[in-house]
Point group: C3
Chain length 148, copies 3
């Protein structure tokens, strides 16, 4: 199955990408690299820090939702997910307390979905780190670099 077929098999419907409020855009292409800026889960119901209001499992689910939003942007940027050659880099930023230690298990919610959809082409390098705060108190913000 190609990535678009895989998405359907996973019963994932990509949302309409959000419109940034400000002098910036969701992605910029340079050569065959697409830089996708910080995306969140965009879910007004789930807010707060992992390790405080939110559990590890909550964090995983929010990272997965964020990955779905990143895919919506990537589909537009690459003119279809089947044009993706490789997910290069994921920057996983967790809204976390200063004693939280399980950032990788949160960002796995994003990494696992990327590999489910893209297979070997979805295996990326990454960072998973703790931020003191994030916009609107979202639990996770994730960026990507993608090769097409």
């Amino acid at each position: 199955m190609n990535p678009e077929e895989k998405l359907k098999a996973l019963q994932i419907e990509l949302p309409t990408p959000y419109n940034p409020i400000g002098n910036y855009v969701r992605y910029v292409q340079t050569g065959n690299l697409i830089f996708i800026g910080g995306h969140g889960p965009f879910d007004n119901m789930v807010k707060g820090k992992v390790g405080q209001e939110l559990s590890l499992e909550d964090g995983y689910q929010e990272a997965r939702k964020t990955a779905i939003n990143l895919l919506a942007t990537l589909k537009e940027a690459a003119n279809g997910l089947n044009n993706v050659k490789r997910i290069v880099k994921v920057n996983g930023m967790v809204n976390a307390t200063d004693t939280f230690t399980d950032h990788p298990k949160v960002i796995n919610g994003c990494s696992d979905l990327l590999v489910s959809v893209f297979g070997d082409r979805g295996i990326h390098t990454r960072a998973a780190v703790g931020m003191s705060s994030l916009p609107g108190n979202i639990p996770v913000e994730i960026e990507m670099v993608v090769e097409i």
Copy 2:
């Protein structure tokens, strides 16, 4: 107006870029991409966290000052701002309390100036996030990736 003319019209005079203390430099070019490392407002008078010592408007002004410092480095790196093809990515890091939520409105101080100077070529993708602390307690640190 081209970017250099636009800067003059905005009555912005670029400072002499700072000299890093250490085994690193302000920017490195690879192919047609320039990676510009973390810059701050370099203003010894304004220190502290946005949401604590500093207001949102203070933060916006510090992000704008940081953008001016980034432009000073970019002018040297690109051998003139008119050679810039596209501002690709901005990484906006705010020295913020753990309850701060308006990082995008702070980093708009940088984004707005970039678009004022470069027009459509200044529209970038970005992240705007909260750091637990920054060097010398500066209120904001910003990086860029630029295509020439």
Copy 3:
């Protein structure tokens, strides 16, 4: 001396690179750029925040250890360190208290080693910033972009 000879002269033996637990890898190459994801010192004995449990000098040593781990990954990625054309970008993230201000002096532990090994080709641009928390409470996490 080339970088491999320089490592020997410095009596540094590169460790076996760690195996990520999860759907990601230590590095991805795209064109002539290698993106190396977040590495830590991987030393179970030294944990905690710089400025709290750990001193500035501790932090410097942990950043140096992290650089050695990055070199182990880079050696594999570049098929030998002598193939490195330029260390482009270092992203130095310090597990720091919210009043810490000396992040650059910590990340110098990485920058100094890179320049010792690669000479002019090791001079990079960088960020040095404070994170609210890091995976497993490691004191520092560092990423790199390298041109080969």
